[in-house]
């Protein structure tokens, strides 16, 4: 019985460290989302629409990320598409 308990205790050892790391990730994401302007999702979908009209990009080829800097906000747009090499 005691062995079993010790085993689980070892398994669970430092679960607080895991909790702390998970929280840091979650909270930085939450904070990022909070600072995003409300129009961002619409802007994103319109950008995707326009890009697709001109290129052969798939949804996964288009990456849009938002950054909030102290004085300015910024979006970073990364687009790639397959080239039609003859």
């Amino acid at each position: 019985m005691k062995r079993l308990r010790e085993f689980f205790q070892k398994e669970n050892d430092h679960s607080a460290d895991v909790a702390r790391e998970r929280l840091k990730m979650m909270i930085s994401q939450d904070r990022m989302q909070r600072s995003q302007p409300d129009f961002l999702p619409r802007l994103q979908s319109e950008l995707v629409e326009v890009i697709k009209r001109y290129t052969q990009s798939e949804q996964s080829d288009i990456q849009i990320s938002y950054h909030s800097l102290p004085q300015r906000a910024q979006i970073e747009l990364n687009v790639s598409w397959p080239r039609n090499t003859p």
Partner: protein, 270 residues
């Protein structure tokens, strides 16, 4: 100047009502005229923790709608002079409480009291925002648990954006109250420490309340646990209020009590 303080958390069941009752009681013990407002519409229970449920006649909504005068709805604490509470309504219509109505009640209470303590409902929706809207300061209650700390961070975000002070370009001073803390589990790295949580949330800790059987005992009797002066939780709450009032106090009940050499060698139970 009256100070309006919201006790809030996001996550439910972390100890807001327990904390309100003891913080308000400790303030009144120090001679401050204090009123507690229960904002938990439909789930009122601050009156139960305060032990005055049988004297509830009118509630906050009755006052905002003019069905009752403020003086008729306020319940005087039976143990302490200068301590009052304003119960929540049992109605299921949560929208019955309005911003204007609450604002008028708080303005009237500011004339009479030093501290107005608002017991927030759980969640991050209208009820919680209404409870924090007029606050000058906040006590954010958190348990050392992932979901609770995350919700505390959300609540801090709302304090920074959805309160009247935020709308006026001012800040609501937020302090952290960690409850249900278990130093033994922290020692074994099974529970996040006070320092971990403080670092993540980046607001100062005003108190740490240990997990304690005294809390249930107190709520069973309808006596705020701070009246139980020998108990760990009672002492932790009175330290918390001393710090809240600006006193320097070292944290107690955050370190594991060292067992004697004998029990460490032979008793060895973790």
């Amino acid at each position: 100047m009256a100070r309006v303080v919201v006790v809030t958390s996001g996550k439910g069941g972390v100890g807001k009502t327990t904390s309100c009752a003891s913080i308000g009681t400790a303030l009144a013990m120090q001679g401050y005229r204090t009123v507690l407002i229960d904002f938990d519409v439909g789930l009122r229970n601050l009156d139960l923790v305060m032990g005055c449920e049988r004297r509830v006649v009118y509630d906050l909504i009755n006052v905002t709608t003019g069905e009752a005068k403020l003086s008729q709805a306020l319940i005087k604490d039976k143990r302490l002079d200068g301590l009052y509470m304003l119960p929540a309504s049992q109605t299921r219509d949560k929208d019955a409480l309005t911003y204007e109505g609450v604002g008028e009640v708080i303005d009237a209470l500011k004339e009479e009291f030093d501290f107005i303590i608002c017991d927030s409902p759980a969640g991050i929706e209208r009820g919680a925002i209404l409870a924090m809207y007029y606050a000058d300061e906040a006590i954010v209650v958190s348990n050392p648990e992932v979901s609770s700390v995350r919700d505390s961070d959300r609540i801090i975000g709302l304090l920074d954006s959805k309160t009247r002070r935020a709308e006026e370009g001012e800040t609501v001073k937020a302090q952290l109250l960690i409850t249900r803390y278990d130093p033994e589990r922290v020692e074994h790295s099974d529970m996040m420490s006070m320092q971990d949580i403080e670092e993540i949330l980046a607001i100062p800790v005003v108190g740490v309340i240990p997990e304690s059987p005294a809390v249930l005992r107190a709520s069973n009797q309808g006596i705020p646990v701070v009246h139980d002066t020998p108990s760990d939780a009672g002492q932790a709450y009175s330290d918390t209020v001393a710090r809240f009032l600006g006193e320097e106090k070292p944290m107690r009940f955050v370190e594991l009590e060292r067992k004697g050499l004998f029990s460490r060698m032979f008793g060895g139970r973790r």
